[in-house]
């Protein structure tokens, strides 16, 4: 039933896959066929209604090779994990980590063609296990070197927080230089019973990059996961979180802020499945969209039969800052239990005229007033980020967005 994109895209990848297959750990044939059967999704596939990957299917990308030379910028001097082109740079990594050793059957590869492609072609990735309480944030840098062949960097990573473990992990995505590349990554997150994880993602890919990242998360009993994503870069990006909550009393918070302009497309897709009673989920996504850019938000809360006392809320707000900006939102609730409190809200529109008038009437120039209001709008997502390099980096990005006259 699933409509397919022109097979040439798939065939080009088959060629690339065959060329590196022998060098990959684990058996990959089934994963590749799962991708080939579906191809790149277009907007005829409901889950990709607003983000068609047709342009990606047409482009020729080559699997990125490890780069052991490239210099990588860091946010801070704390513990870090570094990957370049999807391969771990042990020389720059200061945290003891394991490595991904091939497909292990998780992450729903059958459903999502891009995840299947990742399962077929990923050559490396970190595996971080946290069993104790880490005070210092762990910085993880995913850097990609653009090139004339349009490299595809695919890594598969895993964060496991064991009972009693707690940490703050910052995943940062950057391009080293200008040019096109394609990043198709996966970070699996498992927070076991009573574990706590703060996960912050800062996406600062290059202007011509395509960035698709899939985060399957699983929360055990009384586990806490707070995930925040800041999206600024890439021509086309999609951050997709699928949280499975089989643990009673788990708490999940998903937050996102994005500022895009030009012809960027920023897609934030989440799916939360409450399968146990008494769990809580909170989602807040806010975006400022300028130029001819598009914002996409798809949120899906499922409350399974028996997941009573679920408390699930979702909010999506978008500011349209130019006449040709666009927002598409689809906040879905799918509920099979009666004793629940679930809601979603969505708004879209320009900056509030009254607020603008208030500032203007106090002598603040229009541009400055708009900037102030956009900052205030996005700052809600930033408020629990402590002072430091991460916060500064995000603020600088927002400033840059405003200065460019979005």
């Amino acid at each position: 039933m699933t409509p397919q994109v022109s097979l040439p895209g798939v065939e080009a990848y088959r060629e690339a896959f065959e060329s590196i297959r022998a060098s990959l750990p684990g058996e990959r044939g089934a994963a590749f066929e799962a991708f080939a059967a579906r191809g790149f999704p277009t907007n005829r596939v409901e889950a990709w209604k607003y983000t068609s990957l047709r342009p990606l299917a047409r482009q020729r990308f080559r699997p990125a090779a490890p780069d052991m030379e490239a210099a990588v910028p860091f946010l801070g001097d704390g513990p870090r994990i570094v990957l370049v082109n999807g391969f771990l740079r042990e020389d720059l990594t200061t945290v003891p980590v394991g490595r991904w050793g091939g497909p292990n059957g998780r992450a729903g590869a059958e459903e999502e063609p891009l995840v299947a492609l990742n399962a077929a072609m990923a050559g490396d990735g970190y595996a971080l296990t946290i069993g104790d309480v880490r005070d210092e944030p762990i910085e993880i840098v995913h850097a990609t070197v653009p090139g004339p062949t349009g490299p595809v960097a695919q890594s598969r990573n895993r964060i496991t927080v064991e009972p009693g473990g707690a940490a703050h992990v910052v995943e940062r995505h950057v391009g080293l230089g200008s040019g096109a590349y394609f990043v198709n990554g996966v970070t699996e997150i498992e927070v076991q019973d009573g574990g706590r994880l703060r996960h912050t993602k800062l996406q600062e890919e290059g202007a011509e990059a395509h960035h698709l990242w899939f985060v399957p998360a699983r929360l055990g009993r009384d586990a806490v996961l707070e995930s925040t994503v800041f999206t600024f870069g890439a021509r086309l990006s999609r951050n997709q979180i699928e949280a499975d909550i089989p643990g009673e009393g788990a708490e999940l918070s998903l937050r996102g802020a994005y500022a895009v302009s030009g012809r960027q497309l920023a897609d934030h897709t989440s799916r939360i499945e409450h399968r146990a009673p008494g769990a809580t989920s909170r989602q807040v996504y806010k975006g400022a969209i300028g130029g001819q850019a598009r914002g996409v938000f798809q949120g899906h809360i499922i409350v399974a039969e028996g997941a009573q006392k679920t408390d699930g809320h979702q909010l999506n707000r978008a500011l349209l800052l130019s006449g040709r900006a666009e927002i598409d939102a689809k906040p879905v609730l799918e509920i099979y239990a009666d004793d629940v409190q679930c809601s979603h809200g969505a708004t879209a529109g320009d900056i509030d005229g009254d607020a603008l008038f208030y500032l203007r009437s106090r002598g603040i120039p229009a541009d400055a007033a708009r900037g102030l209001l956009v900052r205030a709008f996005l700052s809600e997502i930033l408020e629990d980020t402590p002072e430091g390099a991460l916060r500064t980096a995000v603020e600088e990005r927002i400033d840059g967005f405003l200065e460019a006259g979005a």
Binding site: I335, Y336, Q341
Partner: protein, 484 residues
Amino acid sequence: MSRVAAETVEQVRSLGDRYKYGFVTDIESEQAPKGLNEDIVRFISAIKDEPEWLLEWRLEAFRHWQTMTEPNWAKLGIPMIDYQDAYYYSAPKQKEGPKSLDEVDPELLATYDKLGIPLREQEMLAGVAVDAVFDSVSVATTFKAKLEEHGVIFCPISEAVQNHPELVRKYLGSVVPYTDNFFATLNSAVFTDGSFVFVPKGVRCPMELSTYFRINAANTGQFERTLIIAEDSSYVSYLEGCTAPMRDEHQLHAAVVELVALDDAEIKYSTVQNWYPGDENGVGGIFNFVTKRGACIGARSKISWTQVETGSAITWKYPSCMLHGADSVGEFYSIAITNNYQQADTGTKMVHMGPRSRSRVISKGISAGRASNAYRGLVKMLPGAASARNYTQCDSLLIGSKCGAHTFPYIESQNRSARVEHEATTSKIDDDQLFYCRQRGIGEEEAVSLIVNGFCREVLQQLPMEFAVEAQKLVGISLEGSVG
């Protein structure tokens, strides 16, 4: 709540016998052979003595329909429908058309009595003109004279084809083209009857217009086509109410309703749908696949949909507004109640094209038993919709732990000055409210009815008087035995 649940099971069981409109009138029907092909389409067109262009239109629709597949995106489990295993035309047998109500088949009139709408009584007391559709052919129309005085045309669409072909030709398919969707295309090919309303410039229709739809002969899908045109600065309120007799076999209903509002015109369209929902085990019941769409063509025009959906085994229905005109207004007020094994996937589309167009969507879904109730809606702001405004609120109420309530809103904005606000909540009946009522000696059932009526109040208020009373009762009846 477990004690209540036990009571519920009992009451739900007994509710199966209580569907008070479950009876079959024995009237000989004139039927076309079973099945669907070009000959049947020609037969329907010929029996209606239709002009050539309409036959051509039907045939084009039929040919297009053959290339289409049934939509499967809705959150519905639809059993396979064999479109060749149904009758596409049946008419109550009558020697000649009735001149007055006295000539109408007494058995037919008795049926209406059971339904609670004695025509004459309504004519005298309620001030409502009733164009009763019985098995696809209108058999009685009242108040015609009074409407004619004002220049309002209110007649079966087949009559309009004969008497006002220029109007029908101009507007038929102008809002819902024959290529629109599987069910609308099927309807375009085989529609047998429905109502036609034309309100001329500057006229405020002197009464509420009402049609009673009813499915009677076994295995007859009904394919009504309703067309309402409100010219500049006119106003009309149209009421549609539905009941159907009990059947074991699934029955298909694929209606199309088109509304056209020109400058400053207002159309208010209200529906109470209470078709047979199937028994408590999910056997039988009507399949209701309806395409309803209004075009606010003119500046400052307004179309308002109000619906109370309590019946049908499956409801697939999205009354929509195309807001072309500057300052045009679209409204959608809906209550959808599903119980036992009923399934509903209903909502609206508000497509804003005109500057300063406004829309308001209030949807209340109540799901009980093992039912599935989904709201599906689209709010779209096109680049031309400067300073347009939308407010959407979807609330779902769950009664029982085996039912489902879903919300699928699509929000698309391509205009910075347009404002879209959407809110949705899902919860169960508040224990505190229930306790408060119980504490004051109100029975569980009554308390639930009270709370649910309060939950639906915003929508019930939108109904015309004639319907409001019936609808309130319906809300109570539909939920009887579903507390828990």
